[in-house]
Amino acid sequence: MSSTRAAPPRRPPAPQRGSAGDRRMTWRDRLYRFDMRYMPYLMIAPFFLLFIVFGLFPLLFNAVVSLRNYRLDDPTLPYWAGMENFSRLSADEDFWNALYNTFGIFLLSTVPQLLLALLVASLLNRKLRAQTWWRVGVLLPYVTPIVASTMVFSVFFSRDFGMANWALGLLGIGGADDPIDWRAGKLQAWIAIATMVNWKWIGYNALLYLAAMQSIPRDVYEAAAIDGAGPWKQLWRITVPMIQPVVVFTVILSTIGGLQLFTEPMLFDPNAQAATGGPDGEWQTIAQLIYKVGWKDLNLGYAAAMSWALFLIILVVAGLNYLLTNRLSGGRR
């Protein structure tokens, strides 16, 4: 998001018809002046109006709601709650549990996802037969609705007849006598959910990396190859540092997405409607908890406090991410 130079100012193209001294403007002149001066604003107005009403305003208004008592089932409560929602938040075990889960799943999904995407991208970054076909193929998960794929994965990760346990059994892990109960503990559930996230986003990220890889100048590789650097060394010493801005971009994207994870943890639960993320909240994420507090417990004020807190957390983590990834991949140069 760095190359956002403003449009180079250009001379107004058409010659002014009515000169400055000419008081009596014809209808055409007026139209022309209106068109030149105000039309651009009319053209960008829909974006700003809609974004402000349905994007920015709700985000800011959330902060106001978070300071209020706003229960859907009890409108008689005093209007202002002050910091009550937030102080309740800091002592709320559910909130900390959800935060812990969110970060756990986030780490288990982001790291493998981006590493595997890098590998897929470097596979795609060769002279391939049927090149387009491969690229379109890796996008299959991207166009599959998360709702649909989560249903499939929930079946894969069932305890008794699930394909995951069957496959692990073939490898000598678990097996029919001692199947893994994917919904019985934090780590298992996190792994199952992270698998869904990884499946969905590897191909998409791989294409982002591929785009950047293709613009790396060829002579860098030639020099490295002459110096005796093999493909693996080339990948880590040249490719990754050279595509660093895109790596930073994907890390931030997956942070923003990962911390808002909702659909996968919701539908992994056989009892999805409760939005508890497992009997003991094993995999309840923040986004899911916000939904539960707001629309199951009907406490919108408290839910707003949570989403405002999540907003701040995302800001901080995205910022940290930016600094870290910048330093890590920049240091390798």
């Binding site: 998001m1 190359s3 403003a6 449009a7 250009r10 193209p13 010659p15 068109d35 039309m39 651009p40 053209m43 960008i44 829909p46 974006f47 809609l50 974004f51 349905f54 994007g55 709700p58 985000l59 800011l60 208004f61 002279k127 391939l128 037969r129 387009t132 491969w134 379109v136 996008l139 299959l140 166009v143 599959t144 609705p145 709702v147 794929s149 499939v152 994965f153 007849f161 394909m163 069957w166 499946w199 590897i202 998409y204 785009a211 950047a212 890889m213 613009s215 060829r218 590789y221 030639e222 971009f249 923003i256 909702f262 999805a272 409607q273 916000i290 939904y291 919108l300 839910a303 995302i314």
Partner: protein
């Protein structure tokens, strides 16, 4: 030190070897398998689900299962599919129109504050709308739109990404001279938009259209919130409804999921090249 003559070639010029194809085929299998298996179960009877080793060959019950999904009493699947089509079509058309209009203004027109306003657009790219969801629900409540398709459509009508994407494309592909000569001929701004800009940004419209349609069709959280309790939600909410209740019949759930996925698979099949290009270009430019 190696003494043999190294083939000094960049990866992108190196013909892929057997290993590359093998590994790519494995990742392709990994990417396609859940979809394929969804189809297998969608065409089978109840027993297929509990088979070990798992069933991998489609059954012959596809039409029966589909019929069951459509004739359910408590989930109006056909209506929810229609709703998804309406929402996605309206949102896509609107995003294409408003974003290309704004993109054109930012790319080729001169007006006070355009730099600052564009910066604002870029900054909003990073704001996750989802975080304002509680207040958005309250806003929709005040407007009386909760429970209606309007609540799902309205927040999607424009996107900052769309404006940004269109601006970049128009800056690079629409020649200034063409715009200027049309101006000299007396064309209004809207006329320039309709006769010069739109025809030359068709590829970008296709890309943005496909990406927007996919994203809108697949959205789950907001439709779930605003349409819950209504009989006619979007297809994503309807699929999740298929899986609620005490006794879940998975061949039904996956038949429904499969039906709701088909339109997007068709899109990928037809517009795959554009979607790939759109994602790859989005990365280079950002």
């Amino acid at each position: 030190m190696t003494t043999r003559r190294v083939v000094a070639r960049a990866p992108q010029d190196t013909p892929a070897g057997l290993w590359t194809y093998l590994l790519l085929a494995v990742s392709m299998l990994f990417a396609a398998f859940p979809l394929y298996w969804m189809f297998v179960i969608a065409t089978s009877n109840d027993e297929a689900l509990a088979k070990l080793p798992p069933a991998v060959i489609p059954g012959d019950r596809f039409l029966t299962n589909v019929e069951e999904v459509f004739s359910l009493q408590d989930v109006y699947f056909a209506a929810s599919l229609v709703n998804s089509v309406i929402v996605s079509a309206v949102v896509t058309a609107s995003v294409l129109f408003f974003c290309s209009l704004a993109g054109f203004a930012f790319a080729k027109l001169r007006f006070k504050g355009s730099g600052a306003l564009m910066l604002f657009v870029v900054l909003t790219l990073t704001v996750p709308n989802q975080l304002g969801i509680v207040a958005l629900y309250i806003v929709m409540g005040k407007l009386g739109w909760n429970g209606t398709l309007l609540a799902v459509i309205a927040p999607g009508l424009v996107t900052a990404f769309g404006v940004f994407y269109m601006r970049q494309f128009i800056v690079n592909t629409v020649p200034d001279e063409l715009v200027e000569s049309a101006r000299v001929d007396g064309a209004t701004t809207m006329r320039v938009y309709a006769t010069i800009v739109v025809p030359s940004i068709r590829p970008a419209l296709a890309v943005l259209g496909l990406l927007t349609f996919v994203a809108t069709w697949n959205d789950f959280q907001w439709p779930l919130i605003t349409l819950s309790g209504t009989d006619y939600p979007t297809s994503m909410v309807a699929v999740s409804d298929l899986a609620s209740g005490n006794y879940v019949i998975y061949r039904r759930v996956l038949a429904g999921a499969f039906i709701a996925t088909v339109p997007l698979l068709v899109m990928l099949f037809i517009g795959g090249r554009q979607i790939v290009r759109g994602i790859m270009e989005g990365a280079v430019k950002s």
